[in-house]
Symmetry: C2
Subunit: 351 residues, 2 copies
């Protein structure tokens, strides 16, 4: 077993690649000596970025570098790049030498424990399923971003990977999400809620009505019943279970309503001379409070239930989000999240 948690990083993925991605990777190894990053992408490009930090990316076992961090970074050459607009399945099939395919393969073959990408969400989702593969017993791997709430954060599961999900999928999402929140995010006995259009058990669409009693029967999660969308930002549940279409709408409404409201607040502050002066005084304190409610502060969304960890971080990620996404792989590995998932999923099957 490696002394490090080995994390493959898609150096070519996202709006700010490769600069911010490589920067985030370096910041991660500066912050933790438990991590080794494998920067996957076009070798000469990555070398150019690494040079800015006095690093070569050549494996320290063969090199003579006096820089201790050389041991924590390695380049994996990949000549191709999958663009965001490309149809995911075709891209994964045809671009064998892309950073996403090569990074996923590093996880599949066991060289790396995790893969972090800010690239095409579709390609990451497809690659995760096809290349890394599902844990035996997991029906569908959910994408589970962490969203801010009034008093902390919550896990929104599923959020894009599987539309038209079935009740059995949602039950697995609830279990996997619960394990993640407890052991990676450190929330004791996390409250699990299912997104519904009313608080009563008899409310909901066909999927929710079918899923509700199944969740009630789960002894291994702390199911609190229905959660109305209105109460999600207030922190009504720690694990917010829903099918991907609804999850995507929730996530995007966070961005959309948040964005417009902040704009309105700014515009409101600029309407009169009096308010402009007030704005100057209010600004620093306001910035700090609102930062806690910024979706992008929370780094990456894990794609759970795979033979390894795949983390999708926002396409517009800066180095801080890349760093956070890489660092969260430590807890995932140390807490043996996948062993816990295997145990719970298998146990349920034996019942």
């Amino acid at each position: 077993m490696s002394e490090f948690v080995n994390v493959a990083v898609d150096a070519m993925g996202g709006d700010n690649a490769p600069g911010e991605v490589v920067k985030g990777a370096i910041e991660a190894i500066q912050e933790s000596n438990k991590i080794k990053v494998f920067l996957v992408g076009q070798k000469h490009v990555i070398e150019g970025e690494l040079a800015k930090y006095g690093l070569s990316g050549n494996d320290s076992s063969t090199g003579q570098s006096g820089n201790g961090q050389e041991r924590q970074v390695e380049i994996v050459d990949a000549s191709q790049v999958i663009e965001t607009a490309e149809p995911p399945v075709a891209a994964i099939r045809s671009k064998k030498d892309s950073s996403i395919v090569k990074g996923m393969k590093l996880v599949k073959e066991g060289t790396c424990d995790a893969f972090v990408s800010a690239g095409s969400t579709g390609a990451v989702l497809v690659g995760g399923q096809v290349l890394v593969g599902r844990i035996k017993g997991v029906e569908r791997p959910p994408l589970a971003p962490v969203i801010p709430t009034a008093n902390g954060c919550a896990l929104l599961i599923d959020c894009g990977a599987n539309v038209d999900a079935r009740a059995s999928h949602l039950v697995q999402f609830a279990k996997m999400g619960s394990i993640y929140m407890e052991h990676v995010m450190g929330v004791k006995n996390p409250k699990v809620g299912i997104v519904n259009i009313g608080a009563e058990e008899e409310k909901g669409n066909a999927l929710v009505k079918e899923t509700f009693p199944l969740l009630k029967e789960c002894s291994d999660i702390h199911f609190i019943g229905s959660v109305e969308a209105r109460d999600i930002p207030a922190g009504a549940a720690d694990v917010v279970v829903c099918e991907a279409f609804v999850g995507n709408v929730i996530l995007k409404m966070y961005e959309g309503v948040g964005g417009i409201l902040i704009e309105k607040v700014k515009a409101g502050m600029m309407t009169t001379l009096r308010s402009k002066i007030g704005a100057l005084l209010v600004k620093p304190a306001l910035k700090k409070t609102l930062k806690a409610f910024d979706l992008e502060q929370y780094g990456g969304a894990p794609l759970l239930g795979l033979n390894g960890l795949v983390v999708k971080t926002h396409g517009s990620s800066k180095s801080v989000e890349v760093k956070n996404s890489i660092l969260q792989c430590i807890a995932f590995q140390e807490q043996k999240i996948n062993d816990k998932i295997k145990e719970q999923i298998t146990r349920k099957e034996e019942v």
Copy 2:
């Protein structure tokens, strides 16, 4: 034909009934001499409220009142009240002398053109279908609240009436919503979008994929394709088509994210002495800007496709929302919205 637009008002419905409801009704007749309100509820209670405005509620044709507004207000006695928590179907069936059942019947029999209620959403939805009845050809009547956007407002259709909708329902929602936005809200050639998890036509769940090509074929609406939830608050579409579960989530996320963000802004302003002084200066201007983004400013949500108009206004409505909900019935009637709906729905069926 009556000289007035006759609006039955549920005087017993909502958190602030009967006081704010009666107040809103009086404000409506003060603002427009085209309206006559029929206050439905417990006679002695309504009389007590009306007395505050020097009105008796006794029909002027028999009375001797010198007050011109007496002609615009009438009491319809209803002894029972349907509570919000009651199962809607049972309540509508058993409480024949409730304000909701009696108000709906006034519309059904043609005495009134519209019914406005801040009471139980479930009872209003069930009552609308069962008592008022659907326009021939309309498969399901959608509840369509108006939501604020960066540059005005949009109609969210459907939002609570019909979970597990089919593609043909969504097509009718698009047509009815388009008519409403154009002729009641005054938006020329309104942009119709379907809520989706990506902008591309091939994205979406089974329902959206089935509905998308049907909407593309509609010559009578201005279909602009998919709208991501993120872009709804920015005003990407004037008519936002979705099934009720998703619509409910969108509406509730508006409330939830908006509420928490405003709280955070307030808390941020109170963190330092400097920011507290700034807050005092900023407050008046901010209040004004944010008011435009307040869901409750837009009055009631019409339940479309019925033989008459039913308007559901927020349970916490104050007089201003009740007034706006009553006044919007004028445009609905004058613009002959139901004739337009009949024409479009029937035309489609003949194709």
